[in-house]
């Protein structure tokens, strides 16, 4: 059977995948999984993306880039870590350059390292859980990641262990046309608790305006009574194409608070998914996106109830400026047998810009009579009465706009872990002011 266009354009071959695996000195099983995924990807019918495929230069992408020793030594670690504490890992292009796990965590059996290192050091765990939540058959881009992943994060928290300090992972790019295929695998055993903070894009020192594609996979397995707080801050430059597959599976009474903030990127396609497979599990997705210039951002969340007494909520706020296009999806699916499941969706969008547009797709589907599912969605533009009120108090038009946009994002900022407030304020309101600056309100 012939390869699809994308594989032809990219020039990727099974030999490339085999060489990548050999270079990493991987065991045969991992190489076989990569090859199986590549085969699936190569023959798959490509999913619809928010922009036409010919706008994405697959032929220019460098699918694996390992920095030289000289390039590595030019990276100033402090720029990445100054705002963060706890253990951390930093990936630049295709490989993880720095990682650090505190001694006391290691002594308690907590594993936190690159997925590359885990394949070597904790092969049995990786072999058991790799693709257990996100299969390469889920999505062709998940398959592409499975074939080409590099660097990445592996986290294993043994039963009953509580990690007090957050664990941080950063992804940045530095080489022109690099495609980054980062992959995260997290396993939380019974009763464990941990907080993960994930950041993408520049922290001020790296010229990350050179990356071209970031295609990540996150798979999270949460056993009974485990608890996870997972916060992602994406702030790529305006040319980046971001295609992510993120999924968590929650067993009995497991809890997940999943916060996802995005700005920048020409294209984003991302829909974190929570599968509630154990009774009493609860998951929450908080999605915040700022779209400007000609961005096309397809974001949201999806919760699937497969067990009784499960609870989910999806709260989304999108600020859509200039000529950006936003697609906001939120889905709650309640399968047969999920007695008394409760699901809640709330999506708010603020449109500000003559050519800005939004499509909102709330989806509520239930096969269980006792389930209680609700959704609310609202799209609005900046209210003229509010503008008038603020201006009549002496604020200029742009100050009034800024204030109303800040007001719009405030409720979603409060949903994030509290110490993200300042960072979110800075990164997001600064960008919304920048994007709004070129647009005058029709007032």
């Amino acid at each position: 059977m012939a390869y699809n266009d994308l594989v032809v354009r990219s020039g990727l071959t099974p030999d490339f995948v085999r060489d990548l695996s050999t270079r990493k000195g991987e065991p045969i099983w991992m190489r076989e999984r990569r090859l199986a995924a590549f085969d699936f990807f190569a023959h798959a019918q490509l999913p619809k993306l928010p922009v036409p495929y010919d706008q994405i230069p697959f032929e220019r992408i460098r699918y694996y880039v390992e920095l030289s020793l000289a390039e590595r030594s030019g990276v100033n670690l402090d720029d990445y870590t100054k705002n963060y504490y706890g253990a951390y890992s930093i990936q630049l292009d295709s490989t993880v350059l720095f990682e650090q796990l505190h001694q006391d965590l290691a002594a308690r059996g907590i594993l936190f390292c690159s997925l590359d290192a885990a394949v070597q050091q904790h092969a049995q765990l990786v072999e058991t859980y790799f693709e257990s939540v996100v299969s390469h058959t889920n999505d062709p881009f998940a398959a592409l990641n499975t074939a080409l992943w590099s660097g990445g994060i592996f986290l294993y928290v043994p039963a009953g262990q509580i990690v007090d300090q957050p664990l941080s992972a950063y992804y940045a790019t530095s080489t022109p046309n690099v495609g980054q295929f980062e992959r995260m695998l997290c396993i939380l055993e019974k009763g464990s608790r941990v907080e993960i903070r994930e950041g993408c894009g520049s922290m001020g020192c790296i010229d990350d305006a050179k990356g071209i594609l970031h295609s990540g996979v996150a798979e999270i397995m949460q056993k009974e009574d485990s608890s996870l707080s997972f916060t992602t801050m994406q702030r790529w430059h305006d040319q980046m194409i971001l295609l992510a597959t993120k999924k968590a599976r929650l067993e009995k009474r497991a809890r997940l608070n999943w916060c996802d903030a995005n700005k920048g990127c020409h294209v984003i396609k991302k829909m974190p998914t929570i599968e509630l497979v154990g009774a009493g599990a609860s998951g929450k997705i908080v999605s915040f996106v700022v779209s400007g210039s000609n961005h096309v951002h397809d974001t949201g969340g999806r919760c699937v109830h497969r067990a009784p007494e499960t609870i989910s909520s999806i709260v989304s706020r999108a600020l859509v400026l200039n000529s950006a296009t936003a697609i906001v999806r939120a889905a709650t699916i309640c399968e047969r047998g999920a007695h008394n499941a409760q699901g809640y969706i709330r999506c708010d969008t603020l449109l500000q810009g003559k050519n800005a547009s939004v499509s909102s797709y709330p989806q509520v589907e239930t096969h269980e009579q006792t389930a209680k599912l609700s959704h609310e969605a609202a799209v609005r533009s900046i209210d003229q009465e509010s503008m008038f009120f603020l201006m009549s108090r002496g604020l200029s038009e742009s100050q009034a706009q800024e204030m109303l946009m800040r007001g719009f994002i405030e409720p979603i900022i409060q949903q994030f872990p509290s110490d993200f407030a300042i960072e979110l304020e800075e990164f997001f309101s600064d960008s919304c002011i920048a994007y709004a600056g070129s647009d005058t309100l029709n007032f």
């Binding site: 008038f388 009120f389 009549s392 002496g394 204030m403 109303l404």
Partner: protein
């Protein structure tokens, strides 16, 4: 006596959505004066207030609004505020996520640069107390205020803005008895303190109007000024309102 000021409506005709609401309305307020404007519901009082503040839905089709000899007709709401105009609002705007305090702080900064902590302690807390508000209430957003609380916040906004010309559009309605008496005494106090400033009080409460010692009284009827007179007009209006004066 310091500099002389004047707010003047000259033969104003105002339309909204192409229907005419105000027909040939003229009035004026001079330095130090307090003017009371009375009128039944729907007579056009709020249209005058919002037009004065520069609301985009209202169009002046004829006539002019002058603050000191300068026309305000084409000025933005921001410019009007900066020229010293304060027009109170009857309804709280539905602004989420922004505290009352942060707007008051921005307003105060137009006069004086001060940090937020000093502003709260030195400016906001004493003024909030003077209008009978616990300053903690200013942590709330406008949409979280009750009707009466919003009116007191408007009074507080007036004190923060320190306007040359204040136009109170039924600020007293929705205030309890204590609130009304605070309203009256604050205005009397500010007039004594700043003899050049101008005040216009639009009200339905005739006791309140009488307590304000107006220099002149206007009665608005169906978009026109029907009567102009001294404070005695309030008494006449009180007894004669039911008979159409």
């Amino acid at each position: 006596m310091g500099k002389e000021y004047m707010l003047r409506f000259e033969h104003l005709f105002i339309t909204r959505d192409s229907s005419q609401i105000i027909h040939d309305c003229s009035l004026h307020v001079a330095s130090g004066e307090l003017v009371v404007l009375l009128g039944a519901n729907g007579s056009g009082k709020t249209t005058l207030a919002r037009t004065l503040a520069g609301h985009p839905f209202y169009t002046i089709t004829y006539g002019d609004i002058l603050l000191n000899v300068e026309s305000l007709s084409t000025a933005t709401p921001t410019d009007r505020a900066k020229k010293g105009l304060f027009v109170s609002s009857q309804i709280a705007p539905s602004i989420e996520g922004i505290s009352v305090r942060s707007l008051l702080y921005r307003m105060y900064q137009l006069h004086k640069k001060i940090d937020m902590i000093d502003f709260t302690r030195v400016v906001l807390e004493p003024l909030a107390t003077s209008v009978g508000l616990n300053s903690a209430i200013t942590e709330r957003s406008f949409e979280q205020l009750s009707g009466g609380e919003f009116k007191r916040v408007e009074l507080l906004s007036y004190l923060i803005a320190q306007p040359l010309c204040a136009w109170f559009d039924e600020l007293d309605s929705g205030l309890d008895a204590a609130g009304k008496s605070v309203f009256v005494s604050l205005i009397n106090q500010k007039r004594a303190q700043y003899p050049e400033r101008m005040h216009v009080v639009v009200t339905h409460d005739l006791d309140c109007a009488q307590a304000l010692r107006a220099d002149r009284v206007y009665i608005l009827d169906d978009g026109k000024i029907s009567h102009i007179g001294s404070a005695d007009l309030i008494t006449h209006y009180k007894t004669g309102a039911s008979r159409g004066l």
